[in-house]
């Protein structure tokens, strides 16, 4: 009976973990110092809460993020969600309107290309991903559930 209970508990944990990975991981979360260090390169989350907790997915639409003072200029992005997935990110404002600012933004933090990841053809010889071990999976599960409780 105890074994059955433990098995059920494990299954419940795994289901919760999968749910967490599928629906919660993609929720944007504002980093406290994002504006100071990384805002021009990292699209900021849209200003309205895009993910009702009960549903757990992005709602379709176009969302304009807050204009964020990135110390050397203002950054603002727009994201497009369709079919529940993030499909486009546009930089509406980047700190390049003054020569001095251009010099700073080019020398200190280059603008790097970003894209929403999407599945490619599986025709590869080798796959590179982070190491996976069973003990690690359990540790990951525990940490994910810890965050999900918040």
């Amino acid at each position: 009976m105890k074994k059955v209970f433990v098995s059920l508990l494990l299954i419940a944990l795994i289901v919760a973990y999968v749910w967490y990975q599928t629906f919660v991981v993609s929720v944007p979360r504002e980093s406290e110092n994002a504006a100071a260090t990384t805002a021009p390169l990292v699209p900021t989350p849209a200003s309205s809460p895009v993910v009702p907790a009960a549903v757990g997915r992005y709602r379709d639409g176009v969302y304009v993020g807050d204009a964020v003072d990135a110390f050397y200029g203002i950054v603002q992005v727009q994201v497009t969600v369709s079919g529940g997935a993030l499909t486009a990110i546009a930089l509406l404002r980047v700190p390049d309107d003054r020569e001095r600012t251009i010099a700073i933004s080019n020398s200190s933090l280059p603008i790097l290309k970003q894209e929403a990841i999407k599945a490619q053809s599986a025709q590869v010889d080798i796959v590179s991903g982070a190491t996976q071990t069973s003990e690690g999976f359990i540790a990951s599960l525990a940490s994910a559930l810890g965050q999900a409780r918040r």
Partner: protein, 250 residues
């Protein structure tokens, strides 16, 4: 001939093109198993465990151990301390660098045995040489951190090393040495292309520990490219990364 063994707690895959390659593959696996015996922090009988328990000293360590410690120290200096084998509990865990180092050495052994076309993949640290069995460039896929069955990028490393560091399956196995309580959950994986698999591996570990800064750190390094994926599924790539996705003859 392709074979997979479970060593260092992860699947290690080796393919040597051609059918006379069995001894080279066996030799490479035997070498990797010996490295695991010496460096595994999970094995009580390993040299690193003896050093950590105080029954052996780092000063009297084997040549291989000294080499790895020296590499770790070099990497710590080059990455502003973001790579550090000293854990918060004071123990030494060189596993962040041993894997890439071991794969590079195993690849050299296969090459020394006269093989030009092969690859080794140790838990995402990839060394390639020559062409695949169809005579085409080796294609390395970047695993989707949110779906291990999927590949989200195809890279032709052209002989360069590839390594991926991330937190998605192992939990927070990499942390910021400058602030061990900081959760590195903003970035979920970073894939590095470097001059060889050891270089790619040591910078992958350090760049991942830097969080969002990591990809910019790699951008500043000549000879390195990166593809970093954050928890929203948005990837940031260094300016030369796409050269390795366009040149595939496949």
């Amino acid at each position: 001939m392709r074979e997979t063994h479970l060593i260092m707690g992860m699947p290690i895959e080796i393919e040597v093109v051609g059918d006379t390659s069995q001894p080279a593959i066996e030799d490479a696996f035997a070498y990797l198993a010996a490295v695991d015996e010496r460096f595994s922090t999970y094995k009580d009988t390993s040299e690193i465990a003896a050093i950590n328990s105080g029954s052996a000293t780092a000063v009297e360590a084997s040549e291989e151990m000294q080499e790895v410690f020296a590499l770790a120290e070099k990497t710590r200096n080059e990455t502003r301390g973001f790579f550090n084998i000293c854990r918060p509990d004071g123990r030494l865990d060189p596993s962040g660098i041993v894997k890439g180092w071991a794969v590079l050495n195993a690849a050299r052994r296969i090459a020394a045995a006269g093989h030009a076309h092969f690859f080794i993949n140790a838990g995402g640290d990839v060394a390639t040489s020559g062409k695949n069995a169809r005579g085409e460039d080796w294609v390395v896929g970047v695993r989707n951190p949110f779906n291990p069955e999927e590949v989200v990028k195809r890279i032709c490393p052209q002989g360069k090393g590839v390594a991926t560091s991330g937190s998605y399956l192992r939990g927070a196995h990499i942390y910021n040495p400058h602030n061990s309580s900081q959760l590195l959950d903003e970035m979920v994986s970073i894939t590095i292309i470097g001059p060889d698999v050891l270089e790619a591996d040591r910078y992958a570990t350090a760049a991942f520990a830097m969080g969002r800064e990591g990809v910019f750190f790699i951008e500043s390094l000549p000879g390195f490219e990166a593809y970093a994926i954050d928890r929203r599924g948005v990837a940031t790539m260094t300016s030369g990364f796409e050269e390795y996705t366009k040149t595939c003859q496949c």
